[in-house]
Structures are given as structure tokens and as C-alpha cells.
């Protein structure tokens, strides 16, 4: 990617970020619940009208919207996302402590997902319209229609409660605590990706170079793994990037089921407690990470596909 394009992209990200920050701020500004009341409620106090007003003044909640937004944004740019109402800690500290577990979970689930979907997708494409293909497609269709929280509950029930292979709920974030949530997340994704791998491989198999290779007498397995596979994998990179991004925010349901102490779980707690600074921080952080991942994906495309690399020059 040349610098010109990179700058353009950077500017775009900046505009989108400002938009999203504005949106999340506006949303909370318009929300029906009162943050000060909920802040005190979380400590179990019932403050007088006077105290509430004082706190509002202190937090700057009595000022006009645009002023509040400006102050908030200015602080955010200095790395100060405010203090969580309900947990009385800096937002960035809370988010940072929960980010790692979620990233680990997301990566593990992606690895499991690939281990399932790549072999089955290729199998399904190579044996198109044969029994294997129908079985794989049938199962993947099943997987797409299955609510992931239900898969989680069933896994929890069977593996943790009936077979007692892992503890049901645990505070630590070790591998043992990760395996069930990761499997749950991988399950639904694997269904989607298996179809994707199948389509991609099929598309490549129809290309002229495959016919050419066959004519030259190159063995099917070499064609498949040396020629078709790398090409088919390319579109998956974009999808993987997008999946990683949405996993960071979308693990909430699964994290809640397994009591996994990740960022999604934190977000649900924050939303339930109407902890506005924490919600805003969460939304902004995820947006930023998501866009950075997308940017990396775009750039990595260039390294992976020589055709694009050449076009860029």
C-alpha cells in the first residue's frame, strides 16, 4: 500500500472513530436511566437530592451536550476514559485487564474453527455431490441454525455436569476454562467457514490453470494442495480478520454462560449497571481494535497476493 492510500485510510478511520465516539456519547446522553442514581445505587446508598446535584456538577453532567462531549473526547485522547461508576476503577485499567483473556479465547476458537472447517471444506469440495459432501453440508447447515448460547449450554451440561471433565465455572482464565467457550464459538463459525472453504476451493478448481496442470499430468493431490489450496485460502484471510474483530465484541454471550472473565462479560456487567464511562470506553476500544485489524488485513493482502502487489506499484 503506498503512503497516499495509507493516509487516506488513516483519515477514514479517524472520521469513523469520531463518528462512533459521538454516537456512543449521544446514545448515553439520551438514555432514560440517570447515571448518578445508578452510580449511588451500586454502592447501596440512597443519597439526597442535594448530593445528587453536587455529584452531577462534579461529573460535569449539568453542562451542555457538546461541551460534555468535547471534554470527554479530549480526555479520551489523553488516555483517560474516566472512572467506572460501578467498579470505581479507571476504565482503561478495567478494559486492559479483560482484553487479554478475550483475545486468547478468540484466537483459540479461530484455531479450533480452522482445524475443523478447512479439512471438511476441502473434502466437501473435492467430493462434490457425493455422500461426504452431503453429510458435511448437512451438518454445517445445522451448525448455522444453532444458537451459540444453546450450544454452550449443551456443552456445559454434557462435558462439565455429566462427564465432569472440566469445572463448570471458574474465576481463573487458564486453558481448561477456555476450552469449552472456545469450542462453542468455534462451532458456529466452523459451519460458516466450511461452506466458505468449499465454495472457494470449488471456484479455484474450475480455473484454467487446474485444467492445464491436469493436462501436464500433475497429480491431483499436488494440484489441490500446492496450487488450489493457497489460492482458495486468500479470501479466507479477510474473513478471518473480520471474525477476529467481531469475536472481540461478540463473545459476550458465551463469556456470560461460562463465567469467563473477558471483555464481553465486563461489557454486559457494565450495561446492566448503566455504567456509562465503561460502556463508552468499551464501544470505543472495540471499534478501534476492529478497524486496526481490518487495516492489517488489507495490508497483509498485499503480501499474500502478488497480483495485487504488482498492481499497486
Amino acid at each position: 500500500m503506498n503512503t497516499d492510500k495509507l493516509w487516506k485510510r488513516f483519515l477514514q478511520i479517524l472520521i469513523i472513530l469520531i463518528g462512533i465516539s459521538f454516537l456512543s456519547f449521544l446514545l448515553i446522553f439520551l438514555a432514560p436511566g440517570d447515571p448518578v442514581t445508578s452510580m449511588y445505587a451500586s454502592t447501596g446508598m440512597m443519597p439526597s437530592e442535594e448530593v445528587i446535584n453536587e455529584t452531577r456538577e462534579e461529573l460535569g453532567l449539568n453542562r451542555i451536550f457538546i461541551e460534555q462531549y468535547g471534554t470527554w473526547l479530549w480526555n479520551c485522547l489523553h488516555g483517560n476514559f474516566g472512572n467506572s461508576f460501578s467498579m470505581h476503577k479507571p476504565v482503561s485499567e478495567l478494559l486492559l485487564s479483560r482484553l487479554m483473556p478475550t483475545i486468547q479465547l478468540a484466537v483459540l476458537s479461530l484455531v479450533i474453527m480452522l482445524a475443523i472447517s478447512v479439512p471438511f471444506g476441502v473434502l466437501s469440495a473435492v467430493y462434490k455431490e457425493r455422500p461426504v459432501d452431503y453429510i458435511v453440508r448437512g451438518i454445517s447447515f445445522f451448525g448455522i441454525s444453532m444458537p451459540n448460547f444453546w450450544v454452550g449450554l449443551l456443552l456445559l451440561y454434557i462435558v462439565a455436569l455429566k462427564l465432569r471433565l472440566v469445572p463448570t465455572v471458574s474465576k481463573e482464565a487458564g486453558f481448561q476454562q477456555m476450552i469449552l467457550p472456545a469450542l462453542t464459538l468455534a462451532f458456529a463459525m466452523a459451519a460458516k467457514y466450511t461452506r466458505q472453504v468449499r465454495t472457494a476451493v470449488l471456484e479455484e478448481l474450475n480455473q484454467d490453470y487446474v485444467t492445464g496442470a491436469r493436462a501436464r499430468g500433475i497429480s491431483e493431490s499436488v494440484i489441490l494442495w500446492r496450487h488450489v489450496f493457497p489460492n482458495a485460502l486468500l479470501p479466507l484471510v479477510t474473513m478471518l480478520g473480520l471474525s477476529l474483530g467481531s469475536l472481540l465484541g461478540g463473545t459476550a454471550v458465551v463469556e456470560v454462560i461460562f463465567g469467563y472473565q473477558g471483555i464481553g462479560n465486563l461489557a454486559v456487567t457494565a450495561i446492566t449497571a448503566l455504567d456509562y464511562p465503561l460502556i463508552q470506553g468499551f464501544v470505543l476500544w472495540i471499534a478501534l481494535i476492529y478497524m486496526v485489524i481490518n487495516l492489517i488485513v488489507d495490508i497483509s493482502y498485499e503480501f499474500l497476493d502478488p497480483r495485487i502487489r504488482r498492481k499497486m506499484r
Partner: protein, 276 residues
Amino acid sequence: MKKKQNIFLKNKKFTVYLILAFGIILTAVFAPQIATHDPGEAILTEALKAPGNGHLFGTDKLGRDLFSRVIYGTRASLPATFALVGSIFLIGSAIGIVAGYFGGWLDAVIMRIADMMVAFPGMVLALAVAGILGPSITNAVIAVGLVSWPKYARMARSLVLKIKYEDYVEAAKVTGSKTRHILIRYMMPSVLPTLVITASTDIGGTMLELAGLSFLGFGARPPVPEWGLMLSEGRSYMQNAPWIMIFPGLAILIVVMVFNLLGDSLRDVLDPKEEE
């Protein structure tokens, strides 16, 4: 009439799924007739009864009949899902058509907003919106709708851009057709099939998203018999009463699967090229 019959006979798969989908809708309509008990009636002495013995699916923690609640669950999920998919379909495509046809600053503003929504994991924003607006099915629908319309807008826009400069559109303009007439007579029909396919394949996924929000407590509130909510209630009784979390999940699976199959087969009917 004869032509219509042909469509259904030619696409047997589609017809079968359509009938199944109608069956599900009828279940919602005739829920009071199908249900064996009042879904809201709590008899604490009957709590956590296993399936069988007058309760086909057993009872929940308050002694409510699970079968009746699962049946009534169609009444919570289907209207919400249809309303959601229907409105994002209408609003999204209308916005997309307008943006694509008129172009200029209007297009730029609309598309930047759409970019903003797309450049962002939808579930996060939906979660935040649903949580902040307060838990209710309506708010969950608004939340998911808010993050889903750009998909339709972008699609409609790109389709409009494709035909905007076609000769017949230019001809319509030259012969003095009103803009509204062009939009409705020329733009809509060319945009519709693709968007209808998208909408119909989105029904299942949307249902899952709404159930997910309810599961987290940001959608339906007790005592509404909603499947996601029922699953989350069943979570605490998993050890002693696993049926509470099995049957609502099964219901979601079946309904979502039928609508997914219907969507896929509709694509084959409307767009035969895509068939492999």
C-alpha cells in the same frame, strides 16, 4: 393461475419449506388452541416436573407448563423477527435507492454513516443500544435494526448505480417521467429480487440475534415466554431440570433452520444462476 401452480411444482424444495414455514406461523396464530396449559399460570407445587405426566415438556421453576410456553414462544419471536427484517429491508433499501439515484452530498453523508456502522462489530453496538434503552423486545428490535440497515442500503445503492445510466432510464428521463415514477417503476424492480433474497436469508440469523439479546437479559422480560429468555432461566436449573434448557433451544433450532432453508431455496427460485 396455471402459471402460479407451475412455480410451486417446479420448485418442490421451496414449496416444502414454504409449507413448513406456514406451519410455524400457524402455530403462533393458533397458540391458544395448541397449548395444553396457560403459559403464564404458575403452580409452585408443580415446579421442575420432568417431561411426561400431563406436561409434555415438563415444567419450569415456577411450575409453568414448558410445552405451552415453547408454543407461545413463537408469538414472541416471529412477529419481532418479521417486523425487524421487514423494516430494515424497507428503510435500508429506500435509503440505498435514494443515495444511489441522487448521488452528491446526500449520497456521501448516507454512505459515510453506513460505513461507520459497518466498520464496527454489530453485536457490540446492538448490545449497548439494547442495554441503554432498557430491556424490552421492542428495544432489542430497534438495537439490531440500527446496526443492520446499512447492509441493505449499500446493496440497493450499488444495484441502482449499475442501472442508473442505462438507456431506458435515460429515455424515461428525457421523455419527462417524474423522479418518483422512475424510482418506483425502474429502480425498485431491479433492486428488489436481490434484496428479497437477502432479507429471506437474514430471517434465521436475525432470530438468533434477538434470542441472544433476550438470553443476556437485554430483550424480552419475564414472564414473557421467549425462547432466549427461557434458556437463560433454565441455565440455573441445568443440574436438576435439563429439559428447561433443551426444549426452547430445540424450538429455536427448528424454526431458524426452516427459515434458513426457505431463504436458500428462494434464492434458487429467484436467481437460478447461483445454483451450483
